[in-house]
Structures are given as structure tokens and as C-alpha cells.
Amino acid sequence: MATTITEYDTIAAISTPPGEGAISIVRLSGENAIATAQRLFKGKDLTQVPTHTINYGHILEPDNGAVVDEVMVSVLRAPKTYTREDMVEINCHGGIVPTNRILQLLLGLGARLAEPGEFTKRAFLNGRVDLTQAESVMDLIRAKTDRAMQVAVDQLDGDLRRLITNLRQEILEVLAQVEVNIDYPEYDTDQMTTQMLQEKAQQVLAKVDELLQTASQGKVLREGLATAIVGRPNVGKSSLLNHMLHEDKAIVTDVAGTTRDVLEEYVNVRGVPLKLIDTAGIRDTEDKVEKIGVERSRQAITKADLILLVMDASQPLTAEDQALLSATDAKRRLVILNKQDLPVQLDLGDAVPEADIIRTSITTGAGVAALDTKIADIFAGGIDNSQTTVMVSNARQIGLLQQAKASLKSVLTGIAAGMPIDLVQIDMTAAWDKLGEITGDAAPDELITQLFSQFCLGK
């Protein structure tokens, strides 16, 4: 029912490539850009500072005032800006984790994650970019948006989708009940009371809170991104680990099966904290010690958020490789085709999407930088395969959940202030819309369809 107006929103995005460089920039554009940034900023009052100034301060968690990062914030007022709208650029120092957190917080305050090319699109629409660039702006929108939408949908965990779909259905039934009472006041349907609405809002709010707690980036921040390096013996797993640790902690030999203990090490890859788990390889063996190692590898795969599957590119695909591919298939996974310095014999066919393949030679160092970038990318995009809980994985989802939460809180304040049910309903509907944006399920006339299927109405 509600029409989403996207043309004049305040948009936000991280405008530096993930994980590269010591500073990253979060950019905002739109009429609420400065006010939105101000709500997180401790330092000068950004709404009062002169235009085109850079201001030192801190970004704080709105809930508890904890410092997220030390920042420099540029305030750029319309019209002399790239988009010709008010813009804010937050220069963060603390790497990708705080940068992502700042983006999440902005999205939670109602900013919308910019579509690819949207800053440039606005620049054009506001007369900043010349005509020759218009075609390329359109190409950019088409090419990137479809992919971005696909990625957004793909990243949505099945359990999360189910959970949110269920929450929306619960809200929808309540909304339909309120609507039926309004549009058919004389019908002998049950009357929805503000008390019932309050209970429902509280229930949904609790679940949204729970989801926000599990938000993977938060978890990763606390615990590190659990990463398992797997592969059959002697493909270069330990060399990879050593590369990441920059020191020889695991025993590396040419004899298959020499890495026997599951090692856990914390490393920082381009600002992403990884909890690395080396494994003893997965292969059938009668060796008792090795067998324990194998069991533990399987456990490690189960526990991991990210699998780095190492294969020897200089040898044809083995049955073991295939078993590993299928054992890790359901996981977020990168396949590392190592030993590219030797003649390549391995052919994966189309078993693994090209985007998930990294070609390296760890001994020469070729391709390892690409691997690091890829890991940072994955973190920025979201990790969504925890075994234990349904997880919310990326800034967009977290931002929308926070907006839904804010709307649900407004429902409760509205009820407490004695507002009539049809007004409180406005916020309930907003929460429902926000949850729908996460799953992309906002079908037209959904509420009206519900109304007529849930109730028997006349006239």
C-alpha cells in the first residue's frame, strides 16, 4: 500500500573500496544528511558548522554512548557539492568493522543504502554532470542494480526469510483486523483493541531485537569470523595459514598428514577479524591420530562462517576434492586453486562460480592479495550461514531492522499516549513495510487481499 519514494531520500554508502587503505569514507547525500550524521556525532554541532569544513569528533552508539570510531566529518551544503544536495563524508580510521557499524547506524536512522551509481545519478539529475555522461549513468544503474538486487536476495538466509515472512504475516493479520473494524464497523468480527495491538507490537519487537542481537557483523566483531581452511593433505593449507599469520606456527612438511592439531588463531585481514581454524585435512585413513584430526575438521566446517577450500591446481580433481566440495557446498566458501606456479591440471568445470575462485601460488605470493580483498568483500556483503541461530548479515538488513524497531517503539509510545488505534496503526504498517523491504516481498494490495481472505464481508 505505501508507495516507496526513493528519489528524494537521504542515501548513504561506504564510498571507499572495502579493506583498502587505512581510511574509509562513509558518504551521505540528501536533505537529512547533516541532521542524520549529527545524531551519531559527538563534537561540534554539524548542523551549525560552516559549509565545506572538516570536523573532528567521535561516532557514538546511540543506545549506550560507546565510541564506535574516531572520525573526521566533512560537512558540505548544497548546492556546491557533488550531488548538489547536502552531503556529509565521515572519514573513519578504524578499518572495515567500525566503518560498517557507522553505515548500519545511519541506515537505522532512516537513511537508505544507496543503489549503485546513485550518487552520480543525483549529480546528473541535479544538473552537475554533463549530457555525455547520462548514457553511462543509465548503463551503470542497469548493470549494477540487477546484480546488487540479486546479491541482496541471494544473501538472504532461508531461515531469516522465513522468520521475517512469519513476522510480517503476524503483523498483517493484526492490520487486517484493524482495517476490517474500520471499513466494516457493523460486522460481527472481533474488535481489535489497542491492548491487543500493544501485545503484538511487543512480541514482534522482542523478535526484532533478538535478530539484531545475532547480527553477524556484531558477532564477528566480538568473536571473529570463524574461518576453516580445508583441503586434502599437502595442497598448501598450512602455507596459507602461515601467510596469514606471517609466522611459522603450524608445522609444514611435504609429508601428507603432518598437520595434526586443529589450530585456532586470530588474524586481521584488511580490518576483518578472522578466527582461523586449520584442519588436518579430510581423508579416509586408518591412522588413529589422523582420524581424530579428520573428525575435528568436520566439526570445524560445521562451526565455520567461512570456508577456505584449498586445492592443488597442478593435479587433476580427486575423489577427495569432490567430497570436500560437496561437504562445504552449503557454506559461504572460497575455493583457492593453489600452486599456480606449476602447470595447471585441475578442471572444476562449473562446479564453483567463478566469483568464488581465487588462483594463488602461496609460495610465490601470487594471488594472496586478491584473496585478502575477497575476504574483506565477503564481510562487507554479509555472512549468513550460522548453524545455530538465524542471522542478519548485512548493513542494509540491519538498518531496516532498526527502522522497523523504531516504528514498533512508536506503536508502543502511541498506545501509551492514548492515541486511537487507526493512528497507532500507521506505525505498525511502517514496521511491516520495513520488514517487507528486507525480504523484497512487498506485494501490491497485500493488505486488501488479506482483508478479503481473512474475513467474510458484505456490501
Binding site: 528519489e7 467474510c456 458484505g458
Partner: protein
């Protein structure tokens, strides 16, 4: 038989075909705007006739009647002169959803509207069956009646209702007919198709009518009208409020009724496949309800008087197309109707509609210029929906005849705007009824502020008489003054705390503005007057408006902010000659839908299902590029 010879009859500015609720509004608006207007209809006895329920208003619909009144239309006045019962619904809820509903005296409603039309300068009323459009070079230049009369006009409004190839179905009986056994219109549909219109079949129905003195009212529940005065028109004084109102009566179906229906489903045209048209979900026949909600033990029925001078009762919510024999059995199984005598059987009616996406927001067709359509033939249902469209079509036909640009209402202006936008943007797959849930800004689209939203526009169009406009200005000024007063008057804790304590409400610690005090849920405007008395006693409409504006300011502001954004999108016009095939990057589905609907603004384009934000982004860049190219060339 010799062929009827056509002859040149009179020349008009505007010809309106059909004198139902849409046609009457269209003709009156055009004539009042100074255009020489003809209203031609199949039967003058059916002018402003109510072929279904004898009531006007209700949720959303009641607000539409207020909107019609605020724009200078007639429906509000006419029902205020002819109601037999008035009720305000949803009084326990918020201000946005309160709704007035009247029971009408059907015959009086018809007579009163006919008298108004007869008395209207610039307006001729004629009985006649229009068979054909006169179209020259894609532009409508008049109509031809069955008698051979050619009426030429600068613009034409069609409001054919359910007459177009109408077919009445009662069980196994089926015959060609307009509503209530009137003449159907057969050839007009053919003329529309020949001119390239896409038509579609819809179905609706009406319940049986019974004799009042054969009803045992003791077994039913009385529903009297309100004591507190209320009217549809802002101009009707409270002093005229009707004291002697007639009641409605409520009863229920039961297991026996349902068993009779189930036993006879094979004779129900809805289920035997006889009916091909699509019926409305919200107005199902009783057989449909029993099948779809099989576990519901009973369904409510309302017995509504059709007028003061008749003993005919409408059996509300008992719409059926069962054979007459079965209808009788069904009726007699209901408490209070055991001995009811049937006056008219219920029936289903199938008819042609114009797929409404073939229209623009002015209700002009995109297929034939200077031709406007309104009402049930655009796929809606309901007298109020019809009248609202009729008014807009009449206004635009008059503007066109005068060579002036069109008039449209936005979704944030009126329920009428929501309805027309839905119709022309999405089309409709079933008879369309307005519901409050169709409006995204329903707190703005209240029934109390319809005049504040629309009367200025009505005045600009020339539809608001000077005296009324003066009264409206006075009211507006009074509202502003009273708000200003309350927003600057301070209340002291010592003055209000004793009263608050008596209400069991928390004390005030500091002084507070009278307006903030009014925001507290336990405080009404009358309560507030003890502490901040108004210098003069204000009109109740002014008080209502001030109270709503202050009490719900937080929510109102939120909606106003999103309306501001919407207006910016609405102001981005899409050029009429845009070639969607030339725009690289549009998704195929979006391209097809855009070509079909031809949206007028970016906002409208964004509401088409299948058109995604990326398509809107590309479209807006493309349009902007065109503008720059023009400036540079």
C-alpha cells in the same frame, strides 16, 4: 422495417450520456462551469436511481461524499434533503476514519436530484438511448441516439453504468437488461469496440426486497439513527437535522439457510458456470459467503427501509442470483423473515466495462480524444465512487470544451484522487470499491477537513457560489485564530491540577501551553475551555478541526513530510510523446507496462507493478537528458 434516419439535433458544449450518480454530477458540474450541457439517459425515471442498497456513505465512501460537496458537487446536498436515517460510524476510533452514513429515501433522492437538474441553467435533460459515438480523426465530436438524433459536442462524457450489454441472471433465467429491468444498451459497446477500446465483463448483484409488514421485527435487532446532528454537506445547518428517523433492523442467517444454499448450489449461476463476469470480493453473494467461509455458523443481514412512502425493505448482505423458488426458501429460513413476502427477487447482473488503464487522470480516454468516461463503466462499484468520478469527468469535459487545461486530484488531495490513480495506473480485476486502507495518507484525507482540502480548488473551477466561499474563508480564519490562541496561551499548574486529580491523571509540574494540554488523551476541547475560555463560542466544525489538528499533530506532520516528497515526484512530468523503446536499460516488463499505462508523472510510473526503482532511475535520467538536449539545441 425501414432504417431509422439520422438527423442533426442540437449542438452542445458537453454531452453527458447516462443520468446515474456519475452522469448527474458530470452534467451539473459542466453546466455550472458555464458550458451548454445535455444530459441524455435511457429512462428519466431512473435518474439518480439507486438500483442496490438504499444508503449513501460509510467508511471511505462517506468521505468521498464530503469531497464531492467540498468541490461543489451535488450528492451531499441531495442526500441531506432526502435521508431517513443518519449515523456517524467509527466514533470510537480516530478522526481519520470517522464516517457518515445515511439511509436514503430512494424515490425522494431521485425526485430531488431530478428537480435540481431541471432547475439548472445551461442544462438540458433528454430521454434517449445513445447507440453510437461520432468520432472524427480520433476525436469524439458527439453521439447518435436510437431515434436518429445527432448531438454534436466539444466533449462527451459516458456514464453507462451497468447498462452496457447488461444481462440479468436469476437462477436458470437469463435475459438482456439494464439495472432493475431497464433497457440495456447494446450498440454503444459495439461502437466503443469499433473505436479500439478494450472492454471486459464484470458482474455484480443485488439482494431480494420484501414487504415490511410481513417482517416480524420482534425477532430482529433495531438499529436507530443518531441523535447528534450530522450532515454530508458543509452547508446544511444542524437545525435541519431530521428528528423522525426510520430504523434499520439486523438479523442473521442460520444453519438451515446455509443447508438450503448448499443443496441448491448446482442451480446457482455463480457456481454452475453461467456467470462469466468477475464479481467483487468485498460484495459477495450469500451463496459465495457460505461456500468460502464454510465454518461460519451465521451471517449478518440488515433490513433497510427503501423509503418513507413505501413498505419495501432491502435485505442487505443477502445478494443472490439463486432461482426465485430457492430465494424464497432461503428468506423464510431467517429469523424475522419466516413469513416475508417477496417484492423483487435478487439478481446478478453482468455488464461491460472499459478497462480503466485506457484513461488518464482527468478521466479522458487515451483511445479517443475529448471523450471522458466515469462511474461503474470504469470498473468501480458504489454510488459514491461513481459520483466522485462523474464530478471529475464533468469538470474536465467542461475545461476541455472551454479550451482550458485539465484538473486532477492527487492521492494526497482526496480519496477521489486515490481511486482515479488506482484505476488508471493499475486497472482493476474486479469491481473496485474504495476502502480506507487504499489511501496511504488517510490521516490527511479526513472527512472533517474535506473543505479545507478542496473548496479552494472548487472555487477556482467556478463551482463554489460566492456566499459559500465567503463562509469557507470565515471558517478557515476562525480555525487559524483559535490555533494561534491555544498555541500562545499558558496554563498554570495550580489552575489545572485539581481538575487533573479529579480525572485521576498525573499533575502538571510546570506551566504548559493550552495546545499541549489539549494533546493529553484525557483532555477534550470542552474541558480545556474551563481554563482557557474562547472569547466567542466557536462553530462546532471549527472546534472539531482545531482539536484534530492539535491532538494528532505528530502523526499529521509525519504524513505531510512524505506527501512533500511525493509532490516532488508528481511534479516530474513524463513527456507525452516519450518513446519507451528508445530507452536503453529498461527491463522488458517495465517497458511493456509503461507503454500500456503511459503514466503522466514519475510518481505514477513508480506505482505501476513491475516497474522497479532502477527503471524509475533510468527513466528520470532519460527525461532529464532530453530536457538538457532541448536547451542545448
Amino acid at each position: 422495417m425501414p432504417e431509422v434516419r439520422e438527423y442533426e439535433a442540437s449542438q452542445y458544449d458537453v454531452v453527458v450520456v447516462g443520468a446515474g450518480h456519475a452522469g448527474c454530477e458530470a452534467a451539473l458540474a459542466a453546466a455550472r462551469m458555464g458550458q451548454k450541457t445535455l444530459l441524455i439517459t435511457i429512462s428519466l425515471e431512473m435518474l439518480a436511481f439507486m438500483p442496490c442498497n438504499p444508503s449513501v456513505g460509510g467508511p471511505a465512501k462517506g468521505i468521498v461524499v464530503r469531497e464531492i460537496d467540498a468541490l461543489g458537487g451535488e450528492m451531499g446536498h441531495n442526500i441531506d434533503k432526502t435521508y431517513i436515517q443518519m449515523r456517524m460510524l467509527n466514533t470510537g476510533k480516530g478522526p481519520a476514519v470517522r464516517a457518515l452514513r445515511a439511509q436514503a429515501d430512494k424515490a425522494a433522492y431521485h425526485r430531488s436530484m431530478k428537480a435540481t437538474i431541471e432547475a439548472q441553467p445551461n442544462l438540458d435533460l433528454r430521454q434517449g438511448l445513445v447507440e453510437r459515438l461520432l468520432v472524427e480523426d480520433g476525436t469524439c465530436v458527439g453521439v447518435v441516439a436510437a431515434t436518429g438524433a445527432r448531438y454534436r459536442a466539444k466533449s462527451v462524457v459516458l456514464t453507462a453504468g451497468t447498462s452496457s450489454r447488461g444481462k440479468i441472471i436469476i437462477g436458470e433465467l437469463m435475459y438482456s437488461s439494464g439495472p432493475n429491468n431497464s433497457l440495456p444498451s447494446i450498440h454503444l459497446s459495439e461502437s466503443l469496440e469499433a473505436n479500439g477500446f478494450k472492454l471486459r465483463r464484470f458482474k455484480t448483484g443485488t439482494p431480494p426486497r420484501v414487504v415490511g409488514n410481513s417482517i416480524d421485527f420482534d425477532q430482529t435487532e433495531e438499529q436507530p439513527g443518531d441523535q447528534t446532528p450530522n450532515h454530508f454537506s458543509f452547508m446544511t445547518p444542524d437545525a435541519l437535522y431530521l428528528k423522525d428517523q426510520l430504523s434499520c433492523w439486523m438479523t442473521y442467517t442460520n444453519a438451515t439457510t446455509h443447508a438450503i444454499i448448499r443443496e441448491n448450489l448446482d442451480r446457482a449461476p455463480m457456481f454452475s458456470g453461467v456467470i462469466k463476469g468477475v464479481g467483487p470480493r468485498y460484495c459477495p453473494s450469500i451463496e459465495d459467503k457460505v461456500v468460502r467461509f464454510a465454518d461460519k455458523p451465521r451471517h449478518q443481514l440488515f433490513l433497510e427501509p427503501e423509503g418513507r412512502d413505501t413498505d419495501e425493505y432491502y435485505v442487505g448482505d443477502f445478494s443472490t442470483s439463486m432461482p426465485e423458488e430457492v430465494q424464497l426458501k432461503m428468506l423464510h429460513s431467517v429469523a424475522g423473515l419466516e413469513h416475508a413476502e417477496l417484492m423483487r427477487p435478487g439478481y446478478a447482473i453482468e455488464y461491460d466495462i472499459i478497462e480503466p488503464w485506457q484513461l488518464t487522470a482527468t478521466l479522458e480516454t487515451k483511445v479517443v480524444h475529448n471523450l471522458f468516461t466515469a462511474g461503474q463503466m470504469n470498473g468501480t462499484s458504489g454510488y459514491e465512487e461513481a459520483a466522485g468520478q462523474g464530478l471529475i469527468a464533468g469538470i474536465n469535459a467542461a475545461l476541455r470544451a472551454a479550451g482550458q487545461p485539465g484538473f486532477t486530484l492527487r492521492r494526497s488531495d482526496a480519496y477521489i484522487g486515490v481511486m482515479i490513480d488506482d484505476l488508471v495506473t493499475k486497472g482493476t480485476s474486479e469491481p473496485y470499491r474504495l476502502l480506507t486502507s487504499r489511501a496511504e495518507y488517510r490521516l490527511i484525507l479526513r472527512h472533517d477537513n474535506a473543505d479545507l482540502r478542496l473548496t479552494e480548488m472548487g472555487h477556482d473551477l467556478g463551482l463554489i457560489p460566492a456566499a459559500r466561499y465567503q463562509q469557507f474563508q470565515t471558517k478557515k480564519a476562525a480555525i487559524a485564530a483559535e490555533r494561534q490562541r491555544l498555541e500562545t496561551t499558558r496554563l498554570k499548574p495550580k489552575d489545572v491540577n485539581p481538575w487533573l486529580a479529579a480525572q485521576g491523571a498525573p499533575d502538571l509540574k510546570d506551566g504548559v501551553l493550552a495546545s499541549d494540554f489539549l494533546k493529553r488523551p484525557e483532555v477534550s476541547y470542552t474541558d480545556l475551555m474551563q481554563f482557557a475560555p474562547a472569547p466567542t463560542t466557536l462553530d462546532r466544525y471549527v472546534i472539531e478541526e482545531v482539536t484534530v489538528q492539535i491532538k494528532y499533530a505528530g502523526y499529521i506532520d509525519k504524513e505531510m513530510q512524505s506527501i512533500a516528497k511525493l509532490k516532488r515526484m508528481e511534479s516530474k512530468l513524463i513527456p507525452q510523446n516519450i518513446d519507451y523503446d528508445a530507452i536503453n536499460g529498461l527491463a522488458t516488463e517495465a517497458r511493456q507496462k509503461l507503454i500500456k499505462i503511459q503514466p503522466e508523472t514519475l510518481a505514477q510510473a513508480s506505482r505501476i507493478s513491475g516497474v522497479n526503482p532502477a527503471d524509475i532511475a533510468i527513466l528520470s535520467v532519460y527525461i532529464e537528458q532530453g530536457k538538457i538536449a532541448k536547451v542545448q539545441a
